[in-house]
Symmetry: C2
């Protein structure tokens, strides 16, 4: 690590994760030595085919799936495209109605807008103040034209975990397919397609400390989609393009490490989370927790601070070497308030006064203490500069 980065406290694991050095070690031989194309018939190609299928088996085991239900893609965004566009286009004769929630990832929003321009109707079911989808409300949106429901397993912003089993109960009873973008939850919750009868699930490699540029779409046996990337017919014709073997090996290794360490790691992360939440709410006046108080990801603490802009907070913390987020990295360069916070009922200025902390494998207790040391002073200073906050104090 260069000196610059060592000094930094990184609390934005939801937007990007470092590749675990053990994962990188596993990938290493496949870049320059065992570099074959699985479609080739010679020795180098045979080896690639074997490692591709071994890796697929490991990734399948991570979510309780069969090997043939795993399609490698270039990442979660592509998996979401293949799931929604692929399923909708394949099954449009059954109906043209799709249901998502108001707190989905922007890729789901934009994919469903594309589907709307192509003859589909999309309903967004609202959420409660904690960003939770109500299975009952969801059920009330179902029509006889509904073919697909897509609900993220957990919010990548406020960390709220959805009641997926109950949601599946409602959906599956009606014979409708269910997709979940499980990226925010993976590695933090056990994801088992035998216990939660999801039909289509997007996961990403980087979100379990694997390399970027690789994702998976789990497609339950019997569920049909059309491909969104067309070509040489790799991945059972559902995702063409030469397989990215080093990345596949890396993701497989990442699943192994994750499965072995998840129970311990979950304890460690939730102690950080609880320490930060308690510390912030105790030390800082007019600070509030966004998202669900208990049904939340173990690595997520998301706050709203009255009378400050989240972006000013982020930049002040940046000056002090602390990296955090004001929300989804995928939209953080826009000036729009978080759609998730708005869906939870926050006003625009409340949404803008929010800050997200997400922890991960390489954080230590001292990172949390550092935030608790620095944050109260930063807030005091910013609030001192804010005409808005002063006005509130006077009232």
């Amino acid at each position: 690590m260069d000196a610059n980065v060592t000094r930094e406290v990184y609390l934005d694991y939801q937007s990007s994760k470092p590749v675990d050095p053990r994962v990188l070690d596993a990938m290493h031989p496949y870049f320059s030595i065992k570099f074959g194309n699985p479609s080739s018939l010679h020795l180098v190609g045979d080896e690639a085919t074997k490692v591709l299928e071994d890796s697929r088996e490991k990734v399948a085991a991570f979510i309780g799936a069969n090997q043939k239900e795993i399609i490698f893609t270039s990442g979660a965004t592509e998996s979401n495209n293949l799931a929604l566009i692929g399923y909708a286009m394949r099954n449009k004769r059954k109906g043209n109605h799709i249901i998502i929630s108001e707190v989905e990832h922007i890729s789901i929003f934009n994919i469903t807008k594309y589907l709307e321009r192509n003859g589909f109707e999309v309903t967004r079911v609202p959420v409660d103040q904690y960003a939770r989808v109500s299975p009952k409300k969801l059920e009330s949106r179902i029509t006889d034209r509904t073919i697909l429901v897509s609900i993220g397993y957990a919010s990548n912003e406020v960390g709220t975990i959805q009641p997926m089993e109950e949601i599946c109960d409602v959906i599956k009873r009606k014979g409708i397919a269910i997709h979940t973008d499980a990226v925010a939850a993976e590695g933090l919750l056990p994801l088992d397609v035998n216990e939660v009868p999801i039909d289509l699930m997007s996961i990403s490699s980087n979100d379990i400390y694997g390399p970027k540029g690789l994702g998976v779409l789990y497609i339950r046996d019997g569920v049909s989609v059309v491909p969104t990337i067309i070509g040489g017919g790799q991945e059972r014709g559902l995702r063409s393009g030469t397989e990215n073997i080093p990345a596949v090996v890396g993701m497989a290794e990442a699943t192994q490490i994750c499965s072995a360490e998840m129970p311990e790691e979950a304890k460690r992360l939730s102690s950080f989370r609880d320490r930060l939440i308690k510390g912030v709410l105790n030390k800082i006046p007019k600070a509030y927790l966004n998202g669900h108080p208990t049904e939340r990801l173990k690595n997520n603490a998301h706050f709203r601070f009255e009378g400050v802009e989240g972006e000013s907070l982020l930049l002040s913390l940046k000056d002090r070497g602390i990296s955090v987020s004001t929300g989804s990295a995928c939209t953080s360069k826009t000036l729009e308030p978080s759609h998730t916070l708005i869906a939870c009922g926050l006003l625009h200025e409340e949404a803008h006064g929010s800050l997200e902390f997400t922890f991960g494998r390489f954080n230590t207790e001292s990172d949390i203490e550092r935030v608790l040391d620095v944050l109260p002073g930063v807030l005091e200073r910013l609030r001192g500069l804010s005409p808005l906050y002063e006005k509130e104090l006077i009232q």
Copy 2:
């Protein structure tokens, strides 16, 4: 290298290339240390944004393009999808006719079949016996509904280089857009979009010894496409998904190495090619060169051997530690004869009796000598077993 691989002579560079160790060194810090998401606003994210744009500039320079004309994708197959589907869907009001050649990569064939199912008409222009497209024949296929022509820069099978400047002359005069899949040519020929006025060009990272899982679509300024992967709006909205920074850095490094070494490397590879072609045609009776005798890639030697199956040859060479190909890796696991060879006028059995050798950066003179030592004996043995070949001798 493990002992098994060291002993191997790898002559199938068209199907997969090792990552150059210098490229891997350049990528290394970006996996686990500088792992930021360019969309994040903090220090780690800023660094990622900078390296993304620096890399884009290097890749742009490699083909004489502007930075903003470079869209990173997950590979050449995706680039071809974005080029053809993206351009066709964006410009369908101008017309619905697309022209390709009979010797395109299978991804182009399958993408155009998809477009045919979606209201487009596709014409395949034939080639001569050397797999060359005639600009005149191409011109004769143009109608007032033609919006796009896609011709591969060079054949990934028989190595024939297309007369791209003349083709562009014909196409551009009519105001039609031209796409080229330049994957087979990249790193072997200078590709300069100022000299050859291509509108859309697919290149891949691995084909210049960069990592797999990354490609580029060059989109000339002023040419419009719709995205094929929808989401958070990365890559100017044309290719969503978190950017794969380590791979982007790797491809940028690969372009630098390639530019610096191409002149020397071209000489080295063409000496191998000429040695192998001369040796094979001299030593082996009834052996013929497929593809163009002079307008061919410097790393490609492609032969037809009377009276044998290419697959038997491949397997016999595999037993002797020599990796070659019977054609495109992307289709080599099917039993279909190469569509390229059929388009050149070969009979099915002639196409099946063909073998492709492609050289690269890590081959040495001794690899070529090894083939010339081994191949004549292998052919003699196989022909001895072949009732077909005996019959011919008797006649």
